[in-house]
Each structure stands twice: as structure tokens, then as C-alpha cells.
């Protein structure tokens, strides 16, 4: 029986392969592991439909002379580091070595395929977030008027955080900001866990913060795959404060960029966003102040105008009232005058009347007295002793008194007898 040594067999396999296979093939596979030790050593797998069992497996390597070109191009295009779990489209040469066996020699990788795969996975995550009803939650949060107390999730060492703080603190409006860094890993595998932990620390003192900013310095393109996870997407989307992301990748939005309240390109742009927001708020305050100033001025001017119109009207009004009152006064004076005249006339006529009556009454009285006097005169004329004497009678007096009774007389008394003319003195015997 003819037999082959193992080397001979392997050599036969090798030459058969080398003779029958094409120079290279484009192959789709998933990287299950990847190690770098001057050259890059990979393990490639193909999983079954359900993604469970492994249907095929192969070792592969990228030699150092190709590695840096392939790696650089891949990272520039995808924004991701070649790593386990990634679907890749690779150009391979099939090799077989008598000692090391079957392996694939990778000469090129098409990054656009991986990009498509990343995008597909990202879309799946987005779809899950939408199905859960959380996708828009952070976007729907209203931005508070004051965005002042800023919780920053970033890497302490990254230039991005420093740029962000410089930009904020040197704003030309003199706006105040308070920032605090919540350090987190911003590239590679630790991203999901450490960013979620940082979010949780912020959530412990939610009232101390107005907004969360997740930023990452730009510069070299590094592994952003950590920002494309469902758990991180859920945490950011459902975070009770608005989240601004400035992860710093020009081409694609990561999952957290898509669910965050606002996405900007760079940390500087995130600072600009906050400054702009606050400057606008300052503008509103100043606008209100100006409006109030203007309105007040115009109200006061209006009132002054009203006052001056009124005060201009005053003299005319006063003149009018004065004339009216004067006229009234005149009328009253005339009325009073005529009243006085009338009253005086009345009184006068009354007095004259009384006087008339007094005169006539006096005359009547005088007349009647005169009459009485005349009657008395007549009477008295009748009683005059001379008239009796003239008739031949005489009057005998004693001591000046007329003697009426002769029996009262005594002899020896002197008596005086008065005749019509002359007197006789005699003595009683």
C-alpha cells in the first residue's frame, strides 16, 4: 500500500488549493475574535439564520505591511475600530500551510459593507426604541429657559471637555454657566456601562441640573460603536433632563445622537448652542425692558399731553364761568334793586297813608275840641259875674269870699259889696 507522509499530504492539499483556487475571493464573515501582535490575527465565523450555531469558521490574518493601510481606511470610513462581532466583507487569498493548516490571508476590507451593517444594526436599535415608545421622549422635553447648570459627561483627559468649558466661560455676553464633569469612558467597549453610570449619578441630584451634555473630543477617529447600543439609547431617550450630544463624528449619527434632545457636531458647538440659548433669553429680558421703557414713556407723554390740553382749556373755561357768574350777579343786582325800590315805595306810601290819617285825625280832634271850647265859652259867658252885675246884681264878700247865707254873718263884720261898677265897703249892724 502506497502511503504518504503527513507533510506530503498537506503539501498535496496545498498545491491542489493553489492550483485550483482563484487568486482572491470577496467573502462575507463575522469577526469572532481579533488579536494584534505585530500582525493581526482573526477568527472568522458564519452563524446560522437564528444567529446561534456556528456554521463555518476560519482563521485569518492581516500581515503588518497591509494592516495599517487597511485599519486606517476602515476607521476613517466607518468611524469604528475593527473588532469582534463586526460583519465584514474581506478580500482573501486562501492559503494552506503544511504546519499551520488552513487560513485566509486578508488583503483588503470593504468598509462600506460594515458601514451598511452598522447602519442596519443601528436601525434595528432605533426601531426597538420606537417600538418601546421611548425614541422621542428626550426630544419632547421642553428646554428650560435657564440652561445654566450643566452636567457634562465626557472623558476628563479629552481636549473636548476643556474646549467646551473655555468656550462657555469666555462667552461675549457675560453669561453665567456652572459645569461639572461626570467622567466616563468615551470610546471602546466601556462606553455603554460608564455613560449609563454617569447618567445615574446625575439623576441622583436631578434638581441640581438643567441639562446634560455628552461630549467627546474630536481629532482622530476612534471607536464610536459603544454609543450604538440599545441600553444606552434607552437611558438617554428616557433621561428626565434634555440631553445634548456632541460625540464628534462627522458622518453618522450614533444611536444616542438620534435619541438625544439636540445633536451637535463638536463640544465647541455644544457650548455655542448653550450660549446662543442663554443669549436669546437675555435678549428677551432686554426686549421686555425696552418695551416697558417705551410704553411707560409714551403713557407719561400721553398723560402730559392730556394734562396740557386740560390746562389750556382752563382759562377759557374760567372766563366762561366768570362771565356767566357776572351776568347772574348783574341780574340779581337788578332784581334786588327793583325789589328795594318797590319795597321803599310801598313803605313810603304806607307812611304817607298813616301820616294822612294822622293829619285828618288830628284835624278832626282839633275841630271837635274847638267846638267843645266854643260851647264852653258860650256856657262860661252865661256864668260871667260881670254880666250878672251888669244886670244890677251885686256880690257881697267877707274876707274875699262871697257871702251866700246872711245868718253866718255877725254884727261888726266888715263886708265888701261889688257892683256893676265900683265897690262899697260897709259894716254890719
Amino acid at each position: 500500500m502506497k502511503s504518504l507522509s503527513l507533510y506530503e499530504l498537506n503539501n498535496l492539499v496545498r498545491s491542489t488549493l493553489e492550483n485550483t483556487m482563484c487568486t482572491f475571493y470577496w467573502v462575507r464573515a463575522e469577526i469572532s475574535s481579533l488579536q494584534f501582535n505585530r500582525h493581526c490575527y482573526l477568527e472568522l465565523v458564519q452563524k446560522d439564520e437564528r444567529g446561534q450555531g456556528i456554521m463555518a469558521k476560519a482563521r485569518a490574518q492581516i500581515w503588518a505591511n497591509k494592516w495599517y493601510a487597511i485599519k486606517g481606511h476602515f476607521e476613517r470610513v466607518t468611524g469604528q475600530v475593527l473588532s469582534a462581532g463586526m460583519e465584514v466583507l474581506i478580500q482573501v487569498e486562501v492559503t494552506f500551510h503544511e504546519l499551520y493548516g488552513y487560513s485566509l490571508n486578508i488583503s483588503d476590507i470593504d468598509p462600506t459593507f460594515t458601514l451598511g451593517d452598522i447602519a442596519r444594526k443601528r436601525m434595528e436599535i432605533i426601531q426597538s426604541l420606537k417600538n418601546e415608545g421611548v425614541y422621542d421622549m428626550n426630544k419632547e422635553l421642553p428646554l428650560p429657559r435657564l440652561l445654566q447648570r450643566i452636567a457634562v459627561i465626557s472623558s476628563a483627559t479629552a481636549a473636548g471637555y476643556g474646549d467646551f468649558c473655555d468656550q462657555l466661560n469666555n462667552n461675549k455676553f457675560g453669561l453665567a454657566f456652572h459645569t461639572q464633569l461626570f467622567p466616563a469612558i468615551m470610546q471602546g467597549n466601556g462606553v455603554e456601562e460608564s455613560v449609563i453610570a454617569a447618567l445615574n449619578r446625575i439623576a441622583e441630584d436631578l434638581d441640581d441640573w438643567d441639562i446634560v451634555v455628552i461630549i467627546r473630543g474630536g481629532g482622530s477617529v476612534t471607536d464610536l460603536s459603544g454609543f450604538d447600543t440599545l441600553a444606552l439609547g434607552e437611558n438617554v431617550a428616557q433621561f428626565p433632563l434634555p440631553v445634548i450630544t456632541g460625540i464628534g463624528h462627522e458622518r453618522d449619527d450614533t444611536v444616542i445622537d438620534m435619541v438625544s434632545h439636540t445633536r451637535v457636531k463638536t463640544p465647541t458647538a455644544a457650548a455655542e448652542f448653550l450660549i446662543h440659548h442663554q443669549a436669546e433669553e437675555l435678549g428677551k429680558v432686554e426686549d421686555l425692558a425696552l418695551r416697558m421703557f417705551n410704553s411707560t414713556i409714551s403713557i407719561i407723554q400721553d398723560e402730559k399731553h392730556r394734562l396740557s390740553i386740560l390746562s389750556n382749556k382752563l382759562p377759557t373755561l374760567f372766563e366762561m364761568i366768570k362771565q356767566r357768574e357776572n351776568a347772574r350777579l348783574d341780574r340779581n343786582f337788578i332784581t334786588l334793586q327793583s325789589l328795594i325800590i318797590q319795597k321803599t315805595a310801598n313803605e313810603k306810601s304806607l307812611i304817607e297813608n298813616k301820616l294822612q290819617r294822622l293829619v285828618s285825625a288830628t284835624e278832626a280832634l282839633l275841630t271837635s275840641q274847638q267846638h267843645k271850647l266854643e260851647m264852653l265859652q258860650t256856657k262860661m259867658d252865661g256864668a260871667d259875674p260881670q254880666r250878672i252885675l251888669n244886670l244890677g246884681f251885686s256880690i257881697t264878700r267877707i274876707d274875699g269870699k262871697a257871702v251866700q247865707d246872711a245868718s253866718t254873718l255877725h254884727a261888726g263884720q266888715a263886708i265888701e259889696t261889688t257892683l256893676k261898677s265900683g265897690t262899697i265897703k260897709s259894716t254890719i249892724q
Partner: protein, 63 residues
């Protein structure tokens, strides 16, 4: 009401209300001065909130 108890949001709402009232001519002259004084306080309160003044005062107090 003490100014310290006001939030920026509340201050802005009060300020807007006063300005609107003045602008619409509903403000009577008697209360104009009072309202103006209050508005002035609200404006400086809001400005201080927005600008460095507050931060600087705080910093001074902490030092």
C-alpha cells in the same frame, strides 16, 4: 413675595404680564410707578440670573 423665592421662569412670566399690561394701556397711572419698580426688579433679577454677577457673588461668598 421675596425675590429669592422666585424662579427665573416665574419672574419672566410676571415681567411679561406687566409689560403686556402697560403696552395694552390697561395700566392706570396710579399703579404705573409701583409696577415699574417691580418690573425693574424683575429685569435685574433675570439679568443677574443669566449673567456672571450671580456666579461671582456666589464665588465671593464661598471664598
Amino acid at each position: 413675595m421675596k425675590k429669592e423665592e422666585l424662579t427665573y421662569e416665574q419672574a419672566m412670566q410676571k415681567l411679561s404680564a406687566i409689560v403686556q399690561k402697560i403696552e395694552s394701556g390697561q395700566m392706570d397711572i396710579d399703579s404705573l410707578a409701583t409696577n415699574l419698580k417691580e418690573a425693574k426688579e424683575l429685569i435685574s433679577f433675570c439679568k443677574v440670573k443669566l449673567t456672571k454677577v450671580e456666579a461671582e457673588v456666589k464665588k465671593t461668598l464661598e471664598d
